[in-house]
Symmetry: C2
Subunit: 117 residues, 2 copies
DNA sequence: GAAAGACGCAACCAAATGGTTGCGCTTCGT
DNA sequence: ACGAAGCGCAACCATTTGGTTGCGTCTTTC
């Protein structure tokens, strides 16, 4: 997947990770997908396309973007691939936000302290 | 600025607010601008353009996007306009993230509890 | 009062983005 | 064995986006 596997994460890494998360969540459809994925444990592209006003391929593209951001993992099962939420990268995003606003907002500063550097 | 001023914020409102924040922070240059703005109290577009490898107008566009997301406020002072960070919308973004990942991640669930619905 | 500094607006351009359709391959059910 | 379900890949299209340049306006300064 992503290069530099196993290498300790430095500031720049977390910025790009957070950036990928922000970019992934910038699209309303993608947020809807994440929301849908927050209810059921897994979902297929076709099932989602049934609920959303767009084609299966469009949904698949969105899921690919989410997967690239590390927010979603795909697992092939027979003839269908089930996607599940993998929310770890969300921490990078929250960290970034807390770090950015810490000097300007008490609550974010507290959040940053709790999350650690 | 944004319509519906004074009306109590509902779920959809916070989603669009969070969406604007995500979109604003999706661009690396914009994150750099926010970072720069996290150090000094205020900054001008020209000053930022001096440090970044791009024109003043490009920086001005980025600042406009950040302002639309409510992350930055502009104040004209004489012949220059100073921009300052207004981090309130960051809370909407954190809230959204916490709400999305709460069922999947204990730390995010705790965060959601602390932030309140 | 005129030059210089900082800004805003508009036009323009290349690349990325969100969507479509069409097609071919694997897998399941009968 | 064969049709249908489900998926992936690729081509294509319109719109958005991140950047540029050029120009006009308003302040400040000399």
């Amino acid at each position: 997947m992503t290069p530099r596997a196993g290498t300790p994460p430095v500031a720049a890494d977390r910025d790009v990770a957070a950036g990928a998360v922000f970019a992934a969540l910038a699209d309303p459809t993608r947020r809807q997908v994440v929301r849908a994925l927050a209810d059921r444990p897994t979902v297929t592209a076709s099932a989602l396309a049934g609920e959303l006003p767009m084609s299966r391929q469009a949904v698949a593209k969105h899921l690919a973007v989410l997967a690239d951001a590390g927010l979603v993992a795909a697992a092939r099962e027979g003839r269908e691939t089930r996607f599940r939420l993998t929310p770890e990268p969300l921490h990078d995003a929250v960290r970034w936000i807390a770090g950015a606003g810490a000097r300007w907002d008490d609550r974010l500063a507290r959040l940053e302290r709790e999350l650690g550097g």
